[in-house]
């Protein structure tokens, strides 16, 4: 069963950012233009696709470290190229 989520604009923004490079939450906030709560919600939806090190709390999401595992890169490339 495919546990990958249906993706909205925010999810695509995050995927585009982490596809280029793994980064911390602060960089992700800056790159995607999301606010802290928006980023927490988006990362929660993408938990099966991306690797998140740290806590998904509004006050601490900036300190999280978010990366795209090599095994999911193909799938993300396909999604991003078709979006």
């Amino acid at each position: 069963m495919d546990t990958r989520p249906q993706l909205g604009d925010n999810e695509l923004k995050v995927l585009r950012a982490v596809r280029k490079s793994a980064m911390d939450g602060y960089s992700l906030l800056s790159t995607t233009g999301l606010d802290a709560q928006g980023l927490v919600d988006t990362l929660s939806k993408l938990q099966n696709v991306i690797s998140i090190k740290g806590e998904l709390l509004k006050e601490r999401v900036g300190e999280a470290y978010v990366a795209l595992p090599p095994s999911n890169r193909g799938w993300v490339d396909m999604i991003l190229s078709s979006s």
């Binding site: 602060y26 090190k53 095994s71």
Partner: protein, 430 residues
């Protein structure tokens, strides 16, 4: 690789090609797989992954040769394996098929890449946290640095009004240290959000953080140190290996000994090419000739330094592993013929002194074909070096047969040994 004609080169050249191209491919593969992780060369796991990727095509090349899927003397095969080993594992290279379930060996490799990537993510976060913690501890203990930080954050904030409101709205705990930490947390968060990439550099420019700390933690410093140290270690290892194998002092060097062992291996290799066996035959014959010449040199006479280098090892050391193979019941016809051709072509009384007893003993082999070949070799040596020591009719007319009993064979062997004792006495080795 059937139907693909390739230049046939010594196997060590092919293996060198596989290793060199394997290293290049491994470097690009690891970079590609972990390109999303900045500083990935700063981690031991990445280097382990790189070495495994570099060694894998060499092992695969050997394995495919061992299973006769290709010849390890083929340049084309070496290039295909070193560049396309992933496709070979996936069964995507026509003509090269992995035996059995071995193609599934690639899966643990894929899983390993994922593990290394995950570990890098964990470590990256740890390093960022440590840097944050270190800098914040440094700032909180120095009132001047707090003021510097406040100035820095206010001048770089994306939303100064919101920052001022947040600072003004901070609760008072009654504990000066706790109030200071709350203020620091607010300033720090704003700086990280406003300048997520440049905050380290700005802290350094403002004199809050030393250049070393910034370079080490936020400017790939660790990665640069570890990468360059690893490359330096690799170079030192290669230089050390070269010096060790070149050797110093008397006798053959490790390289020369290694070369002899290499050709002994190639000579007996069942699935080697004709050309490969011919190369080893030429090398071993040459060594045997020089060995005979060296042993026939009168005592006290010095061999030239050049000759000493070529000789490398004694004829007995050279031939012993090959002669022993004649006793192996399932020795291939080609290998048997090649060994016997080598000893007959290199015959001389000096060589005969250890070859003939070995050949006589090897007549006990189960294969009547090999027994016949050995008998023919003994006859050839007798005619060439011991014409004065006539063979008794029982030996001269003996035709090894399949149904010979061990007792019959033993009788022939004793007769050959008796002849050899006479022949050696009549014409002792020069």
């Amino acid at each position: 690789m059937a139907g693909l004609t390739s230049p046939d080169v010594p196997a060590y050249v092919s293996y060198a090609i596989v290793l060199i191209f394997g290293v290049i491919v491994a470097w690009t593969t690891v970079n590609k797989r972990l390109d999303g992780y900045p500083d990935h060369w700063a981690f031991l796991g990445t280097w382990a992954l790189f070495f495994a990727h570099a060694v894998l095509p060499v092992v695969l090349f050997w394995f495919l040769d061992y299973t006769s899927a290709l010849h390890d003397t083929s340049i084309f095969a070496a290039l295909i394996v070193s560049v396309g080993y992933r496709q070979i594992f996936a069964g995507g290279v026509q003509g090269i098929t992995m035996p059995g379930q071995s193609s599934s060996l690639w899966k643990p490799f894929e899983a390993w890449v994922g593990t290394v990537a995950d570990r890098i993510g964990t470590k990256q976060k740890l390093y960022l946290d440590r840097f944050d913690d270190k800098v914040r501890s440094l700032i909180v203990s120095n009132p001047q640095k707090i003021l510097d930080l406040e100035t820095l954050v206010l001048s770089n904030s994306r939303d100064v009004t919101a920052l001022k409101t947040a600072l003004a709205g901070l609760p008072t705990t009654g504990n000066a240290d706790a109030d200071l930490r709350l203020k620091l947390n607010t300033l720090w968060r704003d700086l990280r959000t406003s300048q997520p990439q440049e905050y380290g550099w700005l802290l350094h420019k403002r004199g809050i953080v030393r250049l070393w700390s910034y370079w080490m933690w936020l400017s790939n410093g660790r990665s640069k140190i570890i990468s360059r140290s690893s490359i330096l270690l690799g170079v030192l290892f290669v230089v050390g290996l070269y010096m060790w194998s070149s050797g110093l002092g008397e006798g053959p060097t490790r390289t020369q000994t290694g070369l002899v062992r290499f050709h002994q291996w190639r000579f007996l290799k069942p699935n080697g090419t004709e050309r490969d066996q011919w190369r080893s035959m030429e090398f071993l014959s040459d060594q045997l000739r020089h060995s005979s010449a060296a042993s026939s040199t009168k005592s006290g006479e010095q061999t030239s330094p050049q000759r000493k280098v070529v000789v490398g090892s004694s004829g007995q050391t050279l031939l012993d592993p090959l002669l022993k193979e004649l006793r192996f019941p399932s020795i291939g016809d080609r290998q048997g013929r090649a060994v016997l051709a080598l000893v007959v072509n290199g015959h001389s009384p000096a060589v005969d002194s250890y070859v003939v007893p070995e050949l006589i003993e090897s007549l006990r082999t189960a294969s009547e074909t090999v027994r016949l070949q050995i008998r023919n070799a003994l006859l050839a040596i007798q005619k060439a070096d011991y014409p004065g020591a006539k063979l008794p009719d029982t030996l001269a007319k003996w035709e090894p047969r399949k149904d010979e009993s061990p007792g019959d064979i033993d009788e022939r062997i004793r007769a050959w040994q008796a002849w050899w004792q006479t022949a050696e006495r009549k014409q002792p080795p020069r």
